[in-house]
């Protein structure tokens, strides 16, 4: 199976329209062809994921090409920190066949929020004022 997801571009502001085209070629016509707009996390913790929107293509052929159109969700924006990256993606699922995935960026001004900005650490970590003043 070969498949491609071709969005117009990979950067979107919340609320913007995400459109493009998907195409696939497989040995048999898939029973199910679905394109999902979803987010997932990468990083030190277990993966969380949630689908925001999905489009099912009717009567998929073994070799096919379809257009898609989604609205970029307002929340959550894509972000990256030391422990967590939240990534938006489009995933084409063909059954039988498998799936392919293309990452997008959905965030303010079409950028991923960076959450490890040194300028934001204006206050040092509260220090122990004495042996007694440990932090709760």
């Amino acid at each position: 199976m070969t498949a491609q997801i071709l969005p117009e571009h990979p950067f979107y502001q919340p609320g913007a329209e995400i459109k493009g085209r998907v195409s696939w070629t497989s040995e048999v016509a898939p029973r199910l062809a679905e394109l999902r707009l979803f987010w997932f996390t990468k990083g030190k913790g277990d993966r969380d994921a949630e689908t925001a929107e999905a489009a099912t293509f009717d009567l998929p052929q073994s070799s096919d090409s379809r257009e898609f159109r989604f609205r970029a969700p307002e929340f959550p924006p894509g972000f990256s920190g030391r422990l967590i990256s939240l990534i938006w993606a489009l995933e084409l699922v063909l059954e039988p066949g498998g799936s392919v995935l293309t990452e997008l960026v959905i965030g303010p001004e079409g950028r991923e929020l960076q959450i490890d900005c040194p300028d934001w650490l204006e206050v040092p970590e509260p220090a122990k004022s004495s042996w007694f003043g440990f932090n709760r």
Partner: protein
Amino acid sequence: MSITRSPSGLAGKLGVSFFFGVFLAMGLFFLGLMVREVAQIAVTYSWKETTATILSSSVGEKPGKDDPFSPIVSFRYQWEGRAYTSDRYAFKPKRMDDYSAVEAKISALSPGTVTVCYVNPRDPATAILRREGWGIAFFILLPLVFVVVGGGGIYGTWAAARRAKSEPLSSPKGSGLGRGGTLLFGGVFVAVGAGLLVFWFLPAAAKSLASTRWTETPCTVISSRVKSHSDSDGTTYSVDIFYRYTVNGREYKSNRYASLGGSSSGYKGKAAAVEKYPAGSQRICYVNPDDPTDVLLKPGVGWELLFGLIPTAFMAAGAGVMWASRRAPKRVTRVSGALPAASVTESGPLKSRASPLARLFGITIFAVIWNGLVGVFLWNLSDGFQRLPGVFFLIFFLPFALIGLGALAGVVYCLLALTNPRCRLQISSSVLHPGESLEVSWTLAGSVHRLQRLRIFLEGREEATYRRGTSSYTDRHVFARLSLAELSNSLEMAQGEVNRRLPGELPPSFAATSNKIIWTLKVHGEIANWPDVNEEYEITVESGIVK
């Protein structure tokens, strides 16, 4: 004010309710038993007093029983012109393992003595010589602690849930039990501690101390053995030395060894003590010059003085809770007029994630239960603190003792922290947006002058949880601490407000199963050589970007 709360589902509440329900059920069960006991005692106080003549009296003994001794009396009395005899010493005569205590009871009841008895007017054939004291009524407080904890816990669990549903989040937080409940709870602890101290520890300790000045008297050991007591908890042992001695020409018998006796699991210590008193040997006993039935083989005090810590800990914990409830802030009405109307969606005092009182309550309960269990354990294994346990035992015991000491230190810490100034924060909007102005006003109540420095800042952190096998790891990383106020002047610290424009690009609050972005407003006040003020208020930052 919008606050992100951790979910507390029905299952969770039911679980907590079950936990407190067990407390409540146990408390009610034992409360019922004790109330029944007290009621029976109370009935005898309605019985009529009349004169009685003692026909015979002796110390009854049932060998082989754990409590073999009891007063055996027979007396004659008259009621409405008719003569009766009775052999009931009390309504519920108790058997004892202390021969001297029984002998003391009957020493004033020699045959021919005219004394007072109490007749049941509904059944004149029933009469007793002694009514039980009201001391047992005090012990009702013990199951009452369980009832208060259990009932209060269940009420708090469901009341808190109702509040969360029915009240706006800006409503100030009250204690789960309310001030009256907290006072009652603390009061029960103080009363139990005081009762134990006054009725149990102090008399025993005073007697132990006084016994060093009692009269040395020769005695003859009649029998000596290590007595074993078996029950569902296992076998415990006690020193059982029966001896006779003579005071003013009258012979007395006793089996008292030391003031704070009792049985415990250690055998060797008792066997060593018994070896020193073989049957038939002549030894010295110590007789109270004011009461020849009051006697000991081993005078003085030792480790048992540590028992005084138990009632003291109860009293300290109770006093702390009561004092804290006195300081608890009164409920206040919402204040929002001072804030710019344009940005106000909802405002009110923020709630700290954990109140100092709740912290104290939690650590106190833990410390009392933990140290109680460890104390009983140590008492049993050290022959009632009569001897030092072995090195192996000390090594084994050390971690438990350290945890107990840590818990006590925690109680002290939380008690001290209760004296800290309490902060009430209010912010301009329930939801923060990047690039907007954030207006925070605060009021510190209490001894603000003790604060050396006060910092108020907005903190953002990532939290990621990873589970593999049976292990679960949660990592936290603070990525933002945005300063709102940093003050060192008492007047400025006591009350003030600050307006700050947030950076135009901030990650929003986010909570998935394993990954979270959490924003909190933090108040940190430094106090020299004292627990710092550390309050945390969870808030919501929404996504957006402002240039």
